[in-house]
Amino acid sequence: MDQNHPPLLSRLSEPETPPDLLDRVMGAIRRARVRRLRVRFALFVSGFAASVGYAAVNWPLLWEEIRTSSFVEFLLLAASDPDVVFANGKDFAYGLLEALPLEAMLAAFAGAFFLLAAVVLTDALRHIRRMPHINHSVPST
């Protein structure tokens, strides 16, 4: 502190911290955490619903894409003649990639991702709700 300025503000009254303030702060943080998880849960459930809705509306097109692509045949070949597949690995890989029913796969992955995220968040929400409430209040002297 500057030597030319005696501790003027040492004369200020010292406010006492309310003993339950920490408890209230931790409670507010807990509520904010639950709120944040709920918002994310709602977003992921909406994403899952949108994926399912998209697949349902476009099911004929998606099924036609899977049916006409040779993707399933490639997979059946790998299961029935693995030796042939390993012998022609590079060609098989290129063929498989070209045959991918991209739109159907993207819809399936998106749905799976949103569903998995929603399940994980449900678990996180349950975990927070099950956490015992710890009283952080400072006992008054």
Binding site: D2, H5, L8, R11, L21, L22, R24, A28, I29
Partner: protein
Amino acid sequence: METPPLNQLSDAELIRAYREGDEDALAILIRRHIGSVYRFLYRMANDAQTAEDLTQETFIKVWKHLPRFDPSKTFKTWTFSIAKNSAIDYFRKKNPSLVKAESADAADPLESVPDAQPLPDELLERKETAAYLDEALSALPPRTRSIVLMHETEDMTFQEIADATGEPMNTVKSRYRRALATLKERLMARFTREA
């Protein structure tokens, strides 16, 4: 090797423990600083309920941004930066012109501020001094008041205050000296009126 109890860990170690999933570390970290943050906000707002609300708001922001906190910085300085901003936002809503006027009237760091004469001891010892001081402090603009409080009551260095406020150190020092001179002038004027 036994890990020391959480309350013996430094702030940086508590933050690391919290990031690794230890929820108790956050409570201990907040407990360590809640008193000083509350006192600072009480003296800023001069109202207990407002101070409690702002303290809660401050630590919710601390929790939200803790994952991105840079451990090379001091946690206390960072927390006080958030607390100061919460207080300024409160004053901006309450009295926008006051905050605007202070921003426009930035102290010139190159202008020398003469040291104010110390108050006579007998005035400092009077029981009304604390009340007059509260009054004079409340009359200071919010940013200036926060600098005075951080230095005088929280023992923060001018460098730490500069980091917390985002202002250059010379500006912080200049504002501080002017504020102390103003406080003493107001106190003397008050005592003179009473005499």
